[in-house]
Symmetry: C2
Subunit: 629 residues, 2 copies
């Protein structure tokens, strides 16, 4: 249980305000009388002196207490423990040459402690949070999230939050300079389920009715354009009630942007300018603009994904033609059925042994879900190509042709998957990323090697087999390409959207579109989506009505702020760039949310729990629930 | 019903990007070829020409179409209606002297329209939204909220939102300059009901459990201080499920601030610096700092409120002594029972006639809720004082003494209320504000006359008769004055808090405190509030736990951003400074939230409606609800 507080150590803070932070003092400050406040990072008793590394957000300063300077302070300092909070009055003096710490900004000085006030004591923390990285233990994330207030003391996490702070400032300055108005849109809005599930908020004043939390302020920002606000930006919390997935957060932050009279080129230009400012301010790097662009179709065919990491090769190739007439039944029947054979070249991996290749085959079938892997190895010694099929089944000339088409030379490995597009390309794209990680060809998140890419010309719609209807690839407010509008109803698959995604190192960091701005086109799109006029009016009537009264053309983009910070910080997880993240079950272990509530609270909301049989509420909730029903 | 769109007018936008906004062109631009885009504010056909006032967020520009320049454009322009959205290519030319409009930034020029593209047409709007104020009609707020996207086109509302935008920028720059980190705290948090009601959010992944929306990020910002973030700021949405009250919003925005090692003086200083920057940037005014301070006790005794408007006099006076021995039973019994007789002087209102005074008496009893009003009139002609009591009941010498004590002279009116404190002071404070408004002594919101005031030394607790226990005057994390700590349990009424409010012109625009930072003191305060150790651990365990591991002293403030913008804008209502406000029933008339949801949505949340008998759900909800039960 809890340790006893060392209350006898506490002393009132008679020192007044601190004069410096723990990262501020330099050799030039020698002789100055200072007051510092912070946490005891480390205490060392050595040669009749007590050395304290005093820590705050700004750094670490060494404080030395000696019995000659102040016997009481020396004795109290000797009883200090990790994470005690203290105030120190003292004098800056240079360290001896042998004691200078070149890794520390304050490493040339120390503070002779003249007076010590212990402002609060700490029990032994469940894990070490020292600024000295080597003293940090490898602590499980669950424990760190439970005591987030301790984990937040780690300089690494504070650096991430500081970077995030700077990203806010640069972003806001950029948009302010470009005449954008920051406008807050409602958090309590209306449920318009489409795509992900809404979080609902029961209304007490209107029993039976609910607000919903925004999945994005999409319709509101469009209404701001109809309202003549011209240019809108907001750094805004959004909410999606999704099923558990690694590294997703039920609440996330986006940089939300909308412009009146916008064209795609204007959105690209604006966004590239923001990225250039961010990289200049936060990374001290000059980004090359404009960013390269690639159509959705090309991205899928070449990288097997709509968010390609173009920092390394291993591009996909359709090698179907190479196998024409090969007699290999599997390939032939797939190609005859409209499928493709897709190959990629893995440089320098042609010498892998059988066991390694077996493991790769297992990965392809079990993790990627492809039917099988056919591969061709070109040994580095120039000896003959090998393959994992008998030459009876597939004569070598066909593999050689494929290897040649993908540009393989001695020492390379050629991997092929076969199947129907787009699935076979997506699988080959997954395989490419896997090989990129495994061989180290894909740059590390901390490498600082950044490549932006616009992916353009998305299809407007995709057919959802489960729902038995078309769904929007982005969202239902995305404008179709004007030339495609006349076959919206007859050939929905062939309609392209005025939509674009921004990709960074294989991560989608933003997406947007030029929007529909007429009632007629919006209703036509709703119709194709199976939302008839009545339902459209019920759910989106406010937008359709707004389009009646002079809605201007408009478009915009939304950028994922959390992911952007994560990539800038080289962090491994979104949880490392959010002060109080939820875990992978959507819970916050520190405050233990979500939690049961008093049955009276539900009663005032005109709600009753209707729990599945396997969920056992705590006693006080269960008892009251029974009474209520 | 809906009018037919004038689709034949529409033309594709071949003009490319606009070169200028509608507020940009000046005499110096004469001769320049320009492209403008915007809304048709007004059309005038005059002398064989069509004049269009083209409007956008930035201003109004006159465009002239003539048949000589372009016959097609002239004809199309002649068919334009209010709020149509157009693009114009043309040439800037000076207006004739007689046509110069000095009230318009672009009033010295016009644009000769060479080409016109109609980007969208508008049906006749339900109300006029012209930039020409005299053309705006007096439209009810309900209709304006329903079509908020139209109301937002009014320059007055756009000005408010622009001011709000500028307030964000100045605020963030200020805090960034002062080493504060902007940190986002969770919106999905844990319900810890205290004070107002929480909005709840059912969790689908954890059936039966709920998140709550923050009433303020109070505990999170304290945890950030425990986490060593040192200085925190956030412009953050907060939520309170309160009963209907005029000019309250269920979601509102605050500037939330917390500082480690903070003293009251540091918080005052920081806040005053922010206000000085805001007034300098937004009002071009130099604020005098430091702001005056007044204790809670003095504010109540002198102004009858904890948020006094000190811009006008009519201070309250305890005139109980003046009536000692008067024989007037009502006063004497009140004073004998510990009550006070409270007077205020209303300058220059001593000549009011009986009917006027009767109306005032009615107001005092009916609206303010006082038992009665005793008043004394000193006619301006110097004639004898009159009173609304017979001299038998109260000889005139007593009233004269009271009048003298409050400094009344010929022409003044002296009003007195009697009763128990603090109620009688609060009633007198209400009466003071009413008289201030009625006589015009209280400056108008648009006067620009601003007076800040710190109210200090609040009681820590107040006794809640309904709950039969003490409740926190601010919140349970407020630190008691150290000297009062030893009688926290014995004499809770007499414990002062380290709390402070910032008042502007009689409006509370912020409040804060130095916080408790030890587990022991926090539990003692919880005990006095009737929250025992088990309940405290259940509800606030995360904070009590955090206090174990080296919690530094800390304090802060939260400022009401909406109200601050309202006061800066001289707006009448919070709804005029929020883009999409809720109405007084907590509804948003435009999107019609809150709304009924599909019963399937509730089913996935393990919830059932349990509606009061007088609430009739719509058919599809009712039917499914029945099936579900």
């Amino acid at each position: 249980m809890a340790e006893q507080p060392r209350a006898d150590l506490l002393s009132p803070d008679t020192h007044g305000a601190r004069t410096h932070t723990c990262g501020a003092l330099r050799h030039d400050d020698t002789g100055e009388g200072v007051t510092l406040k912070g946490w005891v990072d480390t205490r060392r008793d050595h040669g009749g002196l007590v050395f304290i590394d005093l820590r705050d957000r700004y750094g670490l300063t060494q404080v030395v207490f000696s019995p000659q300077d102040n016997q009481d302070a020396y004795e109290a300092a000797g009883r200090l423990r990790r994470e005690d909070v203290i105030s120190v009055r003292g004098t800056v003096r240079p360290r001896g040459d042998e004691a200078v710490n070149p890794n520390l900004a304050t490493g040339t000085i120390e503070v002779k402690g003249d007076s010590l006030a212990v402002l609060n004591t700490a029990e032994t923390p469940p894990f070490v949070v020292s600024a000295h990285e080597e003293r940090q233990m490898d602590t499980g994330e669950a424990l760190r999230l439970k005591h987030r207030y301790l984990d937040l003391r780690r300089p690494a996490l504070q650096d991430n939050l500081t970077l995030r702070h700077r990203l806010y400032q640069t972003t806001r300055r950029y948009f302010d300079d470009h005449d954008f108005l920051e406008v807050e849109t409602p958090v309590l809005m209306k449920s318009t389920p489409e795509g992900a599930r809404d979080f609902l908020v029961p209304s007490r004043l209107h029993p039976g009715r609910f607000y919903a939390l925004p999945q994005s302020p999409q319709t509101y920002k469009q209404l701001l354009m109809v309202g003549g606000l011209d240019r809108y930006v907001q750094i805004v919390k959004c909410f999606r009630d999704e099923d558990l997935r690694a590294d997703r957060q039920p609440e996330f932050t986006q940089i939300d942007v909308e412009m009146t009279f916008a064209t795609e080129e204007q959105v690209y230009d604006l966004t590239e300018g923001l990225m250039a400012d961010l990289w200049a301010d936060l990374e001290d790097t000059t980004l090359e603009t404009p960013f390269p662009r690639m159509t959705y179709a090309e991205a899928l065919r070449t990288y097997g994904t709509d968010k390609p990491d173009t920092r390394f090769g291993m591009e996909l190739h359709d090698v179907s033609d190479c196998f024409a007439g090969s007699g290999f039944r599997v390939f032939e029947s797939i190609v005859d059925g409209g499928g493709d054979i897709v190959a990629l070249r893995v440089p320098g991996e042609g010498d892998r042994n059988r066991a390694q290749m077996d493991r790769l085959e297992d990965y392809v079938t079990e993790e990627i879900g492809a039917a099988g892997l056919i591969y061709f190895q070109l040994p580095s010694d120039g000896s003959e190509m090998t393959q994992n099929l008998s030459t009876d089944a597939l004569p070598k000339e066909y593999g050689r042709a494929a290897a040649e088409q993908v540009g393989a030379t001695a020492g390379d490995l050629v991997l092929t998957l076969a199947g129907d597009p787009p699935t076979v390309y997506e699988q080959a794209g997954d395989l490419r990323l896997y090989m990129g990680e495994e061989t180290g060809a894909r740059p590390d998140p901390r490498s600082g090697e950044d490549q932006f890419l616009w992916v353009t010309d998305f299809p407007l719609l995709e057919y959802d087999e489960d729902a038995g209807r078309y769904v929007s690839m982005h969202h239902p407010f995305t404008a179709p390409q004007p030339d495609d509008l006349d076959h919206l109803e007859d050939d929905p698959d062939d309609v392209q959207a005025r939509a674009y995604d921004l990709v960074l190192n294989g991560n989608e960091i933003g997406g947007g579109s030029i929007r529909i701005h007429t009632r007629e086109t919006q209703q036509r799109v709703f119709d194709v989506l199976g939302i008839d006029a009545d339902e459209a009016q019920e759910r989106f009537g406010f937008l359709l009505d707004a389009f009646r009264y002079g809605a201007p053309p408009h478009g915009g983009i939304a950028l994922g702020l959390d992911r952007l910070v994560m990539l800038l910080a080289g962090a491994d997880s979104l949880r490392d760039v959010i002060a109080f993240p939820k875990n992978q079950s959507g819970q916050e272990p520190m405050v233990q949310s979500p939690d049961w509530v008093d049955p009276e609270q539900l009663e005032t909301l005109a709600l009753r729990l209707d729990l599945p049989p396997d969920v056992e509420p705590p006693a006080h909730v269960a008892r009251r629930s029974r009474l209520a029903s």
